[in-house]
Symmetry: C2
Subunit: 445 residues, 2 copies
């Protein structure tokens, strides 16, 4: 059984290209950079995420006997080439933006320096891993900016695109400041705090709503969050006021209620009044139902007294911007800078670095995309994280990445933190990069 994270989770053309490189003995060093050509209209900044999964992948990359057998049997590849794959490992160097770093168009998130075949083969999965978590972290960061003081929980597993998306969405949301996730396996794999309430079916399976509330509270005394919109939201709130004293006799406190339908702001205000008048001022209000950063802003602007929100579908699929134009391009091979000149898709050649200038209070002033060996003023954002195919540091704790993201969001220009499209953050291209590109174009003619 070949695993889902097999080295063969790649595009066929990677293998056919590798066969060509093998036949030609093209084993010199290649430099590929991973970057986005433009931001979606709906995003003023992106948050880098997915690096740990990339490093795991590169450290473990190899072909199993079963995979080699499949390649031999499929009829597309020669025995020499397959024999070479048996000892294939990734032995290269990786530079990357630390996870949680804000970045912009044209700025490399990752640079791979390795023998051509190694750097080529990993393209499809590297994009796949960085792309998805960056999509989600960038969306989640906007939710955090919309409701900075609220408890935000990832509720999106069911409408995430498959199993891995559900797990990695929980991770990406958490590292940008979400409090946790409802997805149990994400809690296990990444140590993310878990949150959960109940579904409408629990209420419906009981003949009386008040019985459902009471029995759930008794079975889960430590975490009594009750869903109150199955039939009539305000009537359910009144039932809780009646139920609370009886539960208190068992030593059980109602911790919160969740509202999942209708006019959320209006229901929240009414329920808050009912609970407060009934001596349940400490019960928190949790909202859900197709939420995202736009709805959060509306609800909070409308004075809805929610303490937290479950954010599902629109987060885990980043529905307003589900993909990025993230690409992985050859910038240097065998010591010579390379440039793709396709219309609308030309690249900046060479080994590049992102130089970021900041003010005394750490606020971002502007970035410069330059060459690595010709430093510009500012901090160099790309850090060496892997050498000889091995991590240089152990995986970063998510708490460290959360702190970094928080600092980055605070340092972004204010207009970029809003949800409206803002004038782009200033990213200048270093003159030496223009010159290099021009020189390569001249030499090609």
């Amino acid at each position: 059984m070949i695993a889902t994270d097999s080295v063969l989770l790649t595009d066929l053309y990677q293998l056919t290209m590798l066969q060509t490189y093998h036949a030609e003995r093209m084993h010199e060093t290649a430099v590929f950079e991973l970057f986005t050509r433009r931001l979606p209209l709906e995003r003023n900044f992106l948050i880098a995420a997915g690096l740990e999964q990339v490093l795991d992948y590169l450290e473990n990359l190899h072909f199993t006997a079963e995979e080699l057998d499949w390649l031999a049997d499929c009829g597309r590849f020669g025995p020499d080439f397959i024999a070479a794959l048996a000892t294939f490992r990734f032995t290269g160097t990786v530079h990357a933006l630390p996870e949680g770093t804000a970045f912009f168009a044209n700025e490399p998130v990752l640079r791979v320096t390795a023998p051509l075949s190694q750097a080529q083969l990993v393209e499809s999965r590297l994009i796949n891993l960085i792309h998805f978590q960056t999509v989600i972290a960038s969306k989640a960061a906007r939710c955090v900016l919309a409701a900075p003081d609220k408890l935000l929980v990832d509720f999106g597993m069911r409408r995430a695109h498959g199993a891995e998306a559900a797990l990695l969405a929980a991770r990406a949301a958490y590292l940008t400041g979400f409090a946790g996730s409802a997805t149990v396996l994400a809690g296990i794999k990444f140590g993310i705090p878990l949150f959960g309430t109940m579904a409408h079916s629990l209420i419906q399976a009981h003949d009386r709503e008040e019985d459902a509330f009471e029995r759930f509270a008794i079975a889960q005394p430590g975490n009594v969050v009750l869903l109150i919109d199955t039939y009539d939201t305000e009537a359910a709130a009144h039932k809780l006021v009646k139920l609370a004293p009886r539960l208190r006799e068992y030593g059980i406190t109602i911790k919160g209620v969740r509202i999942d339908s209708g006019d959320l702001a209006e229901h929240a205000r009414r329920v808050r009044r009912i609970l407060d008048a009934g001596g349940l001022a400490e019960v928190t209000l949790f909202g859900s139902s197709d939420l995202d950063e736009y709805r959060l802003r509306e609800l909070l602007a409308d004075g809805a007294p929610f303490d937290g929100f479950g954010i599902g579908t629109r987060l885990d699929a980043s529905t307003d911007a589900p993909t990025l134009d993230l690409v992985y391009k050859l910038q240097d091979y065998a010591g010579r800078p390379r440039r793709k000149r396709s219309e609308g898709k030309a690249t900046w050649p060479g080994r590049k670095q992102v130089y970021r200038q900041t003010a005394a209070d750490s606020a971002f002033i502007g970035d410069c995309l330059g060459l690595e060996d010709q430093p510009r003023p500012g901090d160099s954002l790309l850090i060496k994280v892997m050498e000889h195919g091995r991590r240089l540091q152990p995986p970063e704790p998510l708490a460290v990445i959360r702190n970094r993201t928080r600092a980055q969001l605070a340092a972004l220009p204010v207009a970029l933190r809003a949800h409206q499209p803002a004038p782009p953050y200033p990213v200048t291209i270093a003159p030496e990069l223009y010159e290099l590109a021009a020189r390569l174009d001249r030499e090609a003619h």
Copy 2:
């Protein structure tokens, strides 16, 4: 190491609800139905997909010792409940629309009939599996309708949302009529034909574009599809005309070229002329670059002489409609129909069936959502596929599903096959269903 497809890939609330049901000994039969409350504006119909993965999941569902240990250690669950989970299996019945069936709002895709805890626990993953493949199959079907005579290939792995999404997108696209995928592992797992060309990096890594073409052709003589837009598309086409006779001496034929940037239609016309004039009329043209059904229609309306297309990002993330409002709701418990009455989210209660009326030529006339035990005119679309937790038939070959999808697309009303929003397909609600809902509402007051 707990696997990605663990039973714990679920929402925490499923487990807390199960603990409640365990404490209350609520083990009677529940009926849940999976359906979408509405179609996205961008979809006139949906294509059901993902059933085989659901049946695999249900047949294999159990808790491993490691998973039980985690549950015991997390402090949320009692020892009695955990002991009960050790023998947990899915023993229920499943009715479903066969994969490839066209369906509409409110129509169940799947119905689960099982003891309450079993039917409840599987909710999150069942939605996750059916949702994603249905999203992709519905998108892919629109591409097939836009370019029915062209070779369509899934190119989307890199921007699919994670590993599983990449694999299942390839499957969903293939079952609606795509010719295959570039994703190697999807070929291995599902027997899907594989297609591939080359990336720009192969061209760039050579000092001369014509050398790259020649060497790739010699290394891959059986599948020479060359990417010609790295520098100057028409110049590259002229290089091929020069190269072809030399390759012919080696017995190698250029099979096709791919164009990936610029004005695709204009480039295709020019390249076609250059190749035809150069004696390469048999070389096929393959287009890629942010394609979807809208772009395919434009290109073909514009007379672009393409033979096939690689469709990536916009297919694998279904960017114009990345999610569906797909839900899984309790419709009957312990022999009593149940109804959720939340504002805007009320459900039709009871065990339902979709009755579809067709004309003599098989064209769809209209559907009726009715009760299973009160048949209406037309074909019953939900079929029993699992009983006592076991499949009733072996998995359907993808070829069978492809034929079904083709027939379904041909039977759809013409307006629904267009890409513009069309008046909704007629789905009536049986009078007995209105009556049942009204009776339940009356009894609740």
